[in-house]
């Protein structure tokens, strides 16, 4: 049996700035909490196709697992936590504005 589909967001890096971005219903955000959570596999496939057509804006598109919470999606894997926040040795990256 195929594995049940778990909630995901579409994520990538911005072409010009290189930083982590997430897809929303209407575009892209730099804040994971504002990302669109995808709970349906067919829907996720369509959103990926949409993201992949935006090669002039984004690089390295993929689906990342999240846990939906009332405050918005949260990463399930520690790699995605670092992407959403920034490095742990300096308060650089996204954590500067969070």
């Amino acid at each position: 049996m195929p594995k049940p589909f778990t909630p995901k967001v579409v994520t990538a890096n911005a072409l010009l700035e290189g930083d982590v971005i997430y897809q929303t219903a209407t575009g892209w955000t730099r804040n994971l909490a504002e990302a669109e959570v995808l709970t349906d596999e067919a829907d996720a496939d369509l959103r990926m196709i949409d993201a992949l057509t935006q090669a002039d804006l984004v690089v390295g598109v993929y689906l990342a697992d999240v846990t939906p919470e009332t405050t918005g999606p949260r990463p399930t894997h520690f790699r995605e936590e670092f992407r959403a926040k920034g490095p742990s040795n300096y308060a650089h990256g996204k954590q500067e504005s969070l």
Partner: protein
Amino acid sequence: MYSYTEFDDHFLAERNAQFRAQVERRIDGSLTEDEFKPLRLMNGLYLQLHAYMLRVAIPYGTLNSAQMDQLAYIAERWDKGYGHFTTRQNIQYNWPELRDVPDMLDALAEVKLHAIQTSGNTIRNVTADHFAGAAADEVADPRPVAELIRQWSTDHPEFQFLPRKFKVAVTGAEADRAVIKSHDIGLRIVERDGQQGFEVIVGGGLGRTPMIGKVLYDFVTAEDLLPTLEAIVSVYNVLGRRDNKYKARLKITVHENGIEDIRTRVDAQYALIRSQFSGVDQQMLARIEADFAAPQFKTAPLGAYEAAYTNDPVFRAWADTNLADHRVPGYAIVSISLKAHGATPGDATADQMRVMADLARRYGHDELRISHEQNVILPHVHRSDLPELHAALKAANLATANIGLISDIIACPGMDYCALATARSIPIAQEIATRFDELKLEHDVGPLKIKISGCINACGHHHVGHIGILGLDRAGVENYQITLGGDGTETASIGERAGPGFSADDIIPAIQRLVMGYLDLRNDPAETFLQTYRRLGLAPFKAVLYPEAQANAA
């Protein structure tokens, strides 16, 4: 210091203009990412976790003060005010934006620096002993030949699409400070019957399949060196496993075919191409050698140095750990530690870079080196200048007295920055250094090299650490494996895996148990960790690392 010719300046300007146009074409949509990626990689530009990363070559680890000042300027102008010195004598900027990179490359070209072939499946930055030209134990300065190899390998038309990356390191001394046995090609300058030549070692490497290099030729003359290198890379280019990325390095080619088979093939290729080398490379080498002439060393009374050494315990502790013997009487080689306890290994702020540049100008014949151990070296300092130099380093938080000790840790950027990483390295290094600083034990423990990699690719050289730490992802949690008994010097060996890994919380206590265990196991304070390990083997160290397993077995 190598001085660029008109040809070099023109080549670099043209290459930078090409890349500027490639960036523009990527931004305007003419190039896809698949088309652009190999182009940006050939110019040292990666896309990492949080941003682009620009890797700049510091050829054979040598910089002058103007170059160091420019690295500081770039860090402030286009990055976040710091740079990260790597384990292959590069500097990495972690936060550039794509549009700015062509300007950064032009700024580098102003001081004759570049990022060419710091990535991609090409011959990478040629590294060398960081004590080159200064070490007391040196046969000859390896940098002129390293420069010759850089010129030969840069944009070499046959070697732009190798099966995989290709790394060359050179040393001119018996003591191997350049980890030559862990490179695709390691070269050591040797003397035979009054003639200088090269021992050629091939097929070393770390990564997922660590190998110690094997001697291909024990003596190659200077005139035969480039044709020999060209023959080796040609054989690899044809024979290398392009079908499997994980088997595509020369070490696997050598391992699968055997060193004798490789030698036969290289001999045949050499015979085929030797006549193409007319000797012009030797004329070029002669010019390069003149550029690397030793500075005008001075003589001065040593009273100030001796007084500071006798009266100032902080200076003495620093002098005892951070100085190495210079070939010229009265001089010392100064290692500046970029490993302040709790700091990120290898990072320097723009201000610190300027301080080091200024000290090189004032006291160091304008020379700096970057070591693969992520420290900065002032290779030529007269001992009479050391008290003033030390005071200036202290003021810039650069006087940590820990070279070669437990807190002088090599650590790759790990998952704090790197897109390939499976776990973090930097916080583990920070915590180990902080813990042993609190324990006030590191000078009692003595020489001990801890090396940490955040993934199996082993940029942190963990296989050749006396204690190696490899960070992995085990079911979505960071997990750290320990290897013991590795050695990256002339007595090279690959560390043995100690047993099951430890969580991020448990790895620091595990390292502490290991080091306390060593203090109990050593014969006397002069027996180093590595010597003790080689005498006793893994078992007693395993017992202190895994006390529960020991208790269960009892």
